[in-house]
Symmetry: D3
Subunit: 341 residues, 6 copies
């Protein structure tokens, strides 16, 4: 029987103009669903795990459509609390070349933002589970959610689950100060920390000496330093850092590092021609959790997670709709993109 992983967070309606059109040009919007944690949950369901997603969604048809978007890909939605008024929204405009993507949040007052602790029975939710995942976006959404996230993390530890967190700092949702305080408390219960270099700096003030995110030049020693400091402060068992070099909105280089047992493992680097980069980090998280649950060795773990997220950049929407076989094929070396016929 497949292993059970629980993720918790907000799933939003994602409204996006087709192709590279701008918001002011369109009278139709792509309407899909996504969110940092839901994206991980879909990845895990695709990989064949028993993936349980926890959130709160209204009873009306828009809430139902969000549920359906998860069920479609095999996520267990039976633990989703139904109630509240609105589904959070994010408007996303895809960038191209020198023009960056643009994201407008309209997520305040969503059902999950206004959820209360009594909405979730963590003892029941965690029964039989091995792993609990959330991101730093969840506690940023509202004070109530921060409280619930902390409670969930504690409960998860009590139930013996491995707990992972993707720091995922969002400056539009909270200040660095508040993020540092809240996440500092929550991270005490976290085993596996996922971050990019900016996250660590933004949330905990932990920065590598000399990397400049706009140049895209990587500083390997700096990343190791950041991972070491994070490990020292919170006792993480594993720290995974994604390394994105932004050449343009269309072209990025993508790789990552896993730091565990005092050792750093760097992945191959992929030159990405981007179809959709939203959810790229989440797909890395999904790949990492799958690798960990299946006890891959550290190098295989980071290669699987990076290959998974390289593929995500070629897929429209928040969800990483790839199979374990497809990830393994890329991780194993074939990135030539030939036709399979």
């Amino acid at each position: 029987m497949s292993k059970k992983v629980v993720t918790f967070g907000e799933i939003m309606l994602r409204l996006q103009p087709d192709n590279y059109l701008r918001f002011v040009q369109v009278d139709h919007l792509e309407a899909t669903f996504g969110g940092g944690e839901a994206n991980v949950s879909v990845s895990l369901a695709n990989y064949g795990l028993d993936s349980v997603y926890v959130t709160k969604l209204p009873k009306h048809e828009i809430g139902q459509a969000a549920v359906n978007s998860l069920r479609k890909y095999g996520v267990d939605t039976s633990k989703i609390t139904r109630g509240g008024d609105r589904v959070g929204i994010y408007y996303n405009e895809k960038g191209a070349s020198q023009r960056g993507s643009k994201c407008i949040y309209d997520r305040a007052h969503s059902a999950i933002a206004e959820a209360v602790p009594a909405d979730f029975n963590w003892d029941e939710i965690f029964e039989g589970a091995e792993w609990f995942h959330f991101t730093g976006i969840t506690p940023a959404v509202s004070d109530s959610l921060a409280e619930i996230t902390l409670e969930a993390a504690k409960k998860a530890k009590e139930h013996g689950l491995t707990v992972s967190c993707d720091l995922n700092y969002r400056g539009k949702l909270w200040s660095k100060e508040k993020a540092g305080k809240v996440m500092g408390e929550i991270c005490k219960y976290v085993d596996v920390c996922i971050a990019n270099e900016e996250d660590a700096a933004d949330v905990f003030g932990i920065a590598a000496s000399s990397t400049d995110v706009t140049t895209g030049k990587l500083n390997r020693e700096g990343y190791i330093e950041v991972a070491q400091k994070l490990t020292e402060r919170f006792g993480f068992k594993k720290v995974a850092i994604t390394l994105r070099e932004s050449i343009s909105a269309n072209d990025n280089n993508w790789s990552a590092m896993l730091y565990t047992d005092g050792q750093a493992y760097f992945s191959k680097k992929y030159a990405l021609r981007i179809v959709d980069r939203v959810g790229g980090g989440d797909s890395f998280g999904g790949g990492l959790i799958y690798s960990c649950v299946n006890e891959f060795d550290p190098q295989a773990t980071i290669e699987f997670a990076v290959a998974a997220s390289a593929l995500k950049h070629t897929i429209e929407g928040d969800f990483n709709l790839v199979t374990v076989d497809e990830v393994n094929k890329l991780a194993g070396g074939d990135g030539s993109g030939r036709i399979q016929r």
Copy 2:
């Protein structure tokens, strides 16, 4: 120079599945803009009046797209206050045959709902204007908006404008009791009242004896009675009542009555094959205001207003995109729908 009419209210993003698809079936949504008062404002701009629309919209691109949707059809948007966080949304699913249309509001906390009196300088706005229009939806949105609407109505009277109000009761926004109290106060400043029979009953408890809205049988005497009572209570100069007979979601009969100077004028009745009935009542309001501003006689007034709104039912979206010529042609008797070539 064309006459100036000011309307005030909320314009929302309207998200709708294509054709007759249901919310749970789609991954694209039509994204247009509309709202009871904006719809009237666009009608008036199309008819060549100097139509000024007043609301509050965020500075971001979604707010800008709302502004653009009005400018496109010639509405003067220079009096719109920019600020706040969100554009109100309504999800609309078009019904067919025995299945009714479904409307899900997500308009709480919009920029206009959270507007404050200081956001609008009514003295400046009303300068040079002849007419002020709003609907009963606006004060229903928030207490602050109710206060602003009342202030605007008072100011309009001070500036010598004719004031019109479409009662437009929305049970999802406020209770009948609250509506009655607030609208009762506002209606003191109203000259022209637009309603359907349900509105008068819901808001003021003024009902005709025996009409049942689900049967669609019309009761002429009842409507006259309602108009008389409204006139008695508020001193309206004109009361216009739209008469919809719902046969199915596709087929309605549509006519109206104008009551003025103690006399009732009934329009022709149109058998409508519906393309989009949202905004049908608003297009009636637009036609009525145009007729009044141009001092049509009562029968011509009600015929123009009903013909305008009959045409609206054949047009997608909230806005009634027809010209004075097109309305006159139908009001004048040609409803055969032949090709014009």
Copy 3:
């Protein structure tokens, strides 16, 4: 806990031009999934039952997409056998006015058509279930499927399930002679029989005296006679017959009769403005099974089933995406199609 219903049959890829376009006009096709039994299964999941769908589908992405189409609406797909080469296809062209719809089957050699008895473990499938449903299409697809369907029906009876069958004769799949022979054997294990008048005549030679399906005039006595004869021959507990009057491809009248305990119950008749009539009969089956499982009285049963299927005619695609509340509202009398806001 909700009651468990098992359905068995073929789910196909449905390829259809948009709107009323003809096959030769298009370079895009709507690509959804459907099939007589899958449609019933989705109805039941929508109504909140524990709906298990059994079939065989290839492991490749087209097979996966079929699985996903069911999961999305809450159907339990865990009993679907994966294997074989192809997903059956039907091309569907929607008719209008005097032009009928056109259906081209390309379903031979599908995974389920080539399934073998060992592909399904009925003892395991039926564990905890109350009801088993299939249609006359399934045994028509291949000899192997006829054998499997018979086995399943027998096993269902052994496990104490109620068994329902929609005769659903398809002249393009088998001859009347073969249908009569195979269905005659299978119907021995059936409790609830669903048919239209043509089915009974085509499959069993049981016809009412004087009804002509092309005139659409109904013959109540004739339908009762057919139901009586079916009951006499097979010992059915219930016989339900749908009554369609085709005025044009856009307009049909729709009602039904339930015959049980020697008594006939006729439903209201609905004048349908059709959006999509494919799956209309299946949605009747879904409504009927839901009513029976919930032990509605006979009149309520037939009213629910007919209201459910009236709504289906307003919904695009094979699946009847309505809730119990929506069906009850229509069955309770409101078919005016007004906006719900």
Copy 4:
């Protein structure tokens, strides 16, 4: 070997908003091709005749796309002269209910409008042909085309072809006076005349006593009278008159009369739910020519032509994409629009 029919005229790019959208609402247009004579030519190719279409089109890609649109349906395009600058355009907006369709011509200066007699070698074109068809639109487009059309009609008679002409008066292209003069000359060479009552009145001042086209009430005696007068004046062998009763843009009644050998034959009348009425008259012409070429008796001729054009009203675009079998099926009585499966 199939019989050869030559048609001559203008094929235009037809730009149309999707569904019932208005010109001012869209940023996409359907881009198909059509024109009175091309529509007939496609009908005849669909019916299996050797259908040759003659026109002039630019060498560029838009001209090529027009050629391709005809080749696709089997029309012989080898006699089309290539040259000139532009493809004529007509913008078409589909009406609904009380709102009529709207057609904006942008066809001046097209390649065919500026064609000269030397562009066509009629002796070569008519070799082996049996029938020549054109409409009153062609000579209306330009003086040069009027001259060419007259020459073609004369040559056709010399070669022993049957010549048919659909009067098709277009008030946006020429005056009634000019039409009468030019068509009066051309009609001397015509054997089969197709018209609607307005055409005969507009072009030749031949009107029935009391029919009013906006009421849609038919006046059988009047039509016979018109046909008689036309026959008397020009010596036509056959006169066919289509009878449209416009109830709304969605609903028309449709029938026709054939007058030949002093006898009038009226067809069945169809109640049409319209998908696209453009080309309705042309499809009648196509059906009529097919019937005549195959020497159907008068009643069968008019029934085939009317059934063909009834079906056209259910098909998007100018072309009538139906087969002989489909027309025969409807002419034979089945208009119930049931699914063919």
Copy 5:
């Protein structure tokens, strides 16, 4: 109050297949509006200037749609003369890789091409304005337009406006000889001249020694030489030359030079991944005018203009829908295309 800029020219309907499809493949076309001068006018309105666009457009709906396309983005359309028959059209097919874009003009006989001097009251139009802009396309369209353009340029100088002209040579509209003669006369009234190297050579025979446009290698000295010669001949205050290196239809390098007061200022060079290159030069003109009106220093001027037009290449359609903030952000150095969230 914002500064007023007047632009004059032709706005056309742009018909384009979706994505990279070819003309012969499609039955839908994107239908937007654009033209060299209208594109500049929209840029300026987006930047917050009081942007007045002058042209002539038919009164019908296609003309109205053109007006609406400008109003939507805030352009003042009150000075557009309404009349004439047709809206000019250009068919545009987007190239990819080694396949170039293809443009087919169908603009002869448009309303503006057939405009007469009396259609425009330049004294009224220029009242309160600071700047007048047109391009070399306008006088190329017709002799009458050449005359009107010359008159407008003269009048603008009389009113004290700064006059800018983008040479924009179009070989499909006129010969080099005629262009040289007409533009030579008009340029006497021009202050700011915009060109690419080919323009100067084509129109005035002013070429740099050794640059070959198909290799894309830049020759800085050559461009300075061209600007000097232009300045000498016409007394321009500023000459701006755009420098495009075409690697493929997808990839271009883009930079520009501003020559003023005897000094040349070269911008940064952008490596563009192109979404839509039509209007690239116009967006440069828009950026340049905005910079000049706001009196940026020469280096800032050319950087703003080039950054603005670099962004244009990422935006679908003729119009450059970017804000001053977005241009400044890119000109200031961030071209990494990261998500803004």
Copy 6:
């Protein structure tokens, strides 16, 4: 009169998600037609040859749509046998960056796969023809087709035609052993052999020493060696080998070699930004045949063929919709992709 070329094979319905979407994401599919030999036939018709395509297709509308897709581009379809049940299908998912394209065949039991020798009268088909082309896919589809292909090749030689074959090995259709045996027999009748290096190795075990297809490094000597060996074994007059270097699913390098009279001719190499690579090899075949029929010299032959196929990679769908002029322009050196206006 243009020269006649006959091609023989299977044309399939190609079902593909829009853009880069995956199969599991879509509810619409692009529905076009294509196949190795049909693609060549369309190329030749576009180049102005008398191109006859031979296959077998069902009589129903899907078969008709396949016929129409060929007629549209000028292919002579009069020799297509009509009958059988199904049109073969291939599902195609376009890859991006590191994710390869995915092709799922559903072509078993198609009309052509089940064709019998009596379905084709080769003597009649080859009358007046100069060239016969097929690919190694055709005999792979079924044993019956292998037999028919062999017969056709023999007959073609008897009639004095030049025979060309593209080896086109498809591992999903047959084993290398079977391919080698069947193709070895057929190739005895072939004059011109087209292959890529993998084909020669897969089918005949003829490999160059050291090239690895996944690295994309070319080995010129190896290709010459392969061509020599093929020539020696089968006596081919010409061997053409395409050389693809796969960098990613978006970026390939593309060139080719022609080996004839003991001499090897290498083409220019194109760096392709891919729009659609399906049919890339077929377009090479089309270009090669055109060059040979027109007796270009060897270097011009290979340059034309490679330029043609370079352009194909920029065109959506299987068919290479380019003209001789466009190919010549690229072969002549202009690949800068500038706008042609």
